[in-house]
Symmetry: C2
Subunit: 384 residues, 2 copies
């Protein structure tokens, strides 16, 4: 396999883009990545998206977006893994370039979620879980995560408020990210007073749905020359799955797919958890931030809230997470999220993260999760 | 890139499988391919599917099917390109194995279309076309193809009945395919009398929706030993796209994406049209059979009906097509179709096509189309 590098990134603000169609959003991110990477065409386009078929009756996004961005006739497909679709598209692009079949590719994640009625969006999102054995019981996606969080509190003896630092950290970081949906800080008091959604998950445990698109342009690493800014190599790309239904797992509090994908990624990159300078994790709900940290070796089982309370997840902590706001405050346009994460990793590694810069960041990791830990993608990037 | 070979195939009957869930259908095909290929596990699973999100509210099929077939924790995703999703999944699997990232992979296409109301299925299928510029005008997918066929009749001076040989051929071949949905011959008279759907497309121009699953197991070709049956190499895998909306094309009667993908495929395999022993083409509608034959170099522009009338598309003709019944009579479970085609190519190349065997078949081609020519995949397989 050829080594692969990121040469361009692009993103739209995460927001309610009622005035823009899906193709326009995707186009904005693709154009930004092409301009950033000084390319006018690529050999392939990989689209990450989960909901366009059910919410806006549009499939075949590969051809649609390729044509819209001026890549008519270029090979293009959509890759789907629920909320992990963005990283799934990136991994498909990486394999295509690494194989030698393509010399360049763009992965673009795009989602448009805010135009439809909330109940429709909730029903469509439940498709990330098991329709026959979870959704059929009336479990929405947030309800499934609430059951997991409830069990976590019971099993390890934490209180709900012990999760406040995760949400506070993400919001604090989003303040300085102009692309974030919620650019406002929150306090422990506002976290405690937030409206309940599905006990114990309240509004400030949950990431907001949103519209948005993010894109990453990749080429073989061997072709590159330094142009005054750091070259960013994709040091690892790995994936694993788990049961779709949480109740099928021996331990509902352990993200086995996250563990398996990150172990493969560490091995590919030749690194260990302590080598990771920052970690863009999948905090769709605060409980998922905790479970990710544990599965990836940053905290002992059941101890992730302590890491957060000790301020180790902030920009100057031992393992900064969600450095540009995470899903919680940047926002979670589901099929785009995995690519927003990688765009943010590149911003950090280039030293372009502004007020949110992690000092001396050389190795960054992104982990994107589809379903309640069912499909997990881990990417490690580093400065070449 | 490593050479890749098919070592196992599996399929379910194409039918109305009201008694089986999506995962059960997919499982049947996967198990059959694993048994056929003498493997108990693979490194990756690629699912081709278009409609499960909108029709049965189930996404994240990769993880779901991997777990169901005993591949819990194995990497798995869904790949979507409308009715081309099956071949899209195969191509993703090929790139993963060719790159060296995986040493084996299964591509499984699965679709469940007959349980929902017809109007829902029609609306969901329209997502293969352009939602903003075609479906928004009230154009169903069959209506778009009807406009193309109408234009073809006008432009080249054919009568509707001149297309009868395409449907008659597919039905004749399906008679001996136990997996086909419509195992019954039709006559020119029944073709002429068939109920009109969207003029000039009548019921016998159109492929039936269906439930079904088909799977292909691949490994690097270098690893293989002959076990008493021919080894089947994937000699070419290529894709191209076109505008999603037909009205955006300079010539609505020319499948540019089919032409571009097949030219790449011919170059990869080092063959020309006359080297192809048979061709599993995408006869979702009889007009698409004609346009495919022309785009791939088997007939002059506007002359494909003549090829059919001269009996050149039958099992003993110059270029046998739809040798196991094609989409028209085997049936068209959309996301599975591309893999049914490749399964059938392998049956022919192994000499296992029974009464439908193409004598001396050494090189076979399959072409799968998503949308009205928007996303096209061409695979060429040959006996090693």
């Amino acid at each position: 396999m050829r080594e692969v590098a990121v040469i361009g990134i692009g993103q739209t603000p995460v927001s309610e883009h009622w005035e823009k169609s899906l193709r326009e959003l995707a186009g904005e991110a693709v154009f930004a990545a092409m301009i950033d990477g000084h390319r006018e065409s690529v050999d392939g386009l990989f689209v990450g998206n989960m909901l366009s078929g059910s919410l806006i009756r549009q499939e075949n996004l590969g051809a649609m977006i390729a044509d819209w961005v001026g890549l008519r006739h270029t090979e293009a497909v959509k890759v789907e893994a629920a909320c992990g679709s963005g990283a799934a598209a990136l991994r498909a692009a990486i394999l295509a370039v690494a194989s030698g079949a393509m010399d360049s590719a763009i992965a673009v994640g795009v989602e448009k979620m805010t135009e439809t009625k909330g109940v429709e969006t909730t029903a469509a999102l439940a498709a990330a879980a098991d329709a026959d054995y979870e959704a059929a019981q009336g479990l929405s996606f947030v309800a499934i995560n609430a059951l997991i969080m409830q069990r976590y509190l019971y099993e390890y003896g934490w209180k709900h408020t012990d999760f406040a630092p995760f949400s506070i950290n993400s919001h604090a970081n989003a303040v300085h990210n102009p692309y974030a949906r919620l650019q406002e800080p929150i306090s422990e008091r506002s976290y405690q007073k937030a409206r309940m959604i599905a006990s114990p998950i309240n509004l400030l445990d949950a990431s907001p749905i949103a519209d948005g698109a993010a894109a990453v342009l990749i080429t073989p690493a061997g072709d590159l020359r330094r142009n005054g800014r750091p070259l960013i190599q994709i040091a690892a790309s790995a994936s694993a799955t788990d049961t779709l239904a949480v109740h099928d797992r021996p331990d509902p509090l352990w993200l086995t797919a996250a563990e398996k994908s990150v172990k493969k990624a560490y091995a590919q990159a030749g690194v260990e958890p302590q080598d990771i300078d920052f970690f863009e994790l999948h905090d769709a709900f605060s409980i998922m931030a905790a479970l990710s940290l544990e599965a990836c070796g940053f905290a002992e089982r059941g101890q992730a809230p302590r890491l957060a309370q000790e301020n180790q997840i902030s920009l100057h902590g031992r393992i900064p997470i969600c450095t540009m706001g995470g899903l919680k405050a940047r926002g979670h346009p589901v099929g785009a999220t995995g690519l927003y994460q990688v765009v943010e990793v590149v911003q950090q590694l280039r030293g372009e993260a502004g007020a949110n810069q992690v000092d001396g960041a050389k190795i960054g990791m992104a982990q994107n999760i589809g379903g309640s830990g069912a499909t997990v993608f881990t990417h490690i990037l580093r400065v070449m």
